[in-house]
């Protein structure tokens, strides 16, 4: 039995993992990749916080397997990665 087989669950996990790695690298070097972010600090913060939400959603739905969990629990966890970046965004931008 192989340690890794590319079944449907593992496919989802693998695509999610690669997406998370890509988002991490993009959010770290976003100002280098897209020069205009160095001048647009507010836009830079908003994009980085939006990437936090995208990454959080992947971890919650795919890794934590909450996509098919009771709606309340999924929403509670998703609310965390929606509300916290919004609150932090308000603090930085207001």
């Amino acid at each position: 039995m192989k340690l890794f087989d590319f079944n449907s669950s593992n496919k989802k996990n693998t695509y999610s993992w690669l997406w998370l790695l890509l988002l991490t690298v993009v959010s770290t070097y976003i100002d280098v990749l897209f020069g205009f972010f160095t001048e647009q600090k507010s836009l830079f913060i908003l994009v980085v916080l939006f990437i936090v939400f995208l990454k959080g959603q992947q971890i919650i739905d795919i890794f934590m397997e909450l996509k098919h969990a009771p709606t309340l629990w999924r929403r509670l966890l998703l609310a965390y990665v929606v509300l916290l970046p919004i609150i932090i965004g308000f603090i930085y931008l207001l």
Partner: protein, 207 residues
């Protein structure tokens, strides 16, 4: 021909019913108590993150100087290692669902080895700051930096201890489809540690 079509119809209806049944049966992975614990942990970290953001707005220059002294690459490496470690834990859970305890245990060992890179990098980061004469009392930025990152490190260590117990049980094939919530709880805790870091990293190192 008509008979053949008529024979197909009930099969399709049954298929639709069974598909609906699968969709309707929503299940929370792991123990309910673990999810309440996870919510409590997330709340504590949310307060710390908001506190950090507010403190930054009150001391913008100090925080900018502090962030410039941090090693952003080490933060990036730690993010990549935690995400990869979480990925291997997710693979291990899939293996356990298939009933392959030994392979699940092996995947968990890989996950923990990758997490060791995180610990090594974090310790190196602390030591290099200490060498520069920076510690928890240097200023507000470093007080919060050390407090939040060390608190997170403690959660990583606790997560590793939990995964050790899960690994030992998985290796002995003590989990099965009707008794897998212990494995799922351990995995969920580990993913929570990852979830916290993906907020902590941009907040302290990037923004």
């Amino acid at each position: 021909m008509n008979n053949a079509i008529a024979a197909k119809i009930p099969a399709e209806i049954t298929l639709e019913h069974s598909t609906t049944d699968v969709t309707v049966s929503k299940r929370l992975p792991g123990d309910l108590a673990m999810w309440f614990f996870i919510l409590a942990e997330l709340t504590v970290f949310a307060i710390l993150f908001i506190g950090f953001a507010v403190a930054e707005q009150l001391n913008i220059d100090m925080f900018n100087e502090g962030k410039a002294q941090l090693h952003q690459i080490s933060g990036l490496i730690n993010t990549l290692t935690l995400i990869t470690s979480s990925f291997f834990v997710a693979l291990a859970l899939t293996k356990m669902h298939q009933g392959f305890g030994k392979q699940a245990a092996q995947l968990l060992v890989i996950a923990k080895l990758i997490a060791c890179i995180y610990i090594g990098v974090k310790v190196w980061e602390y030591l290099s700051l200490f060498e520069q004469g920076i510690d928890i009392e240097t200023n507000t930025f470093f007080t919060l930096y050390f407090m939040i990152t060390f608190f997170h490190l403690m959660h990583v260590l606790l997560g590793m201890v939990i995964l050790v117990f899960v690994t030992l049980k998985a290796a002995k094939n003590e989990y099965n489809d009707s008794n897998i919530s212990g494995f799922e709880s351990g995995a969920s805790y580990w993913h929570m540690v990852d979830l916290l870091w993906i907020i902590l990293f941009p907040l302290i190192y990037i923004i």
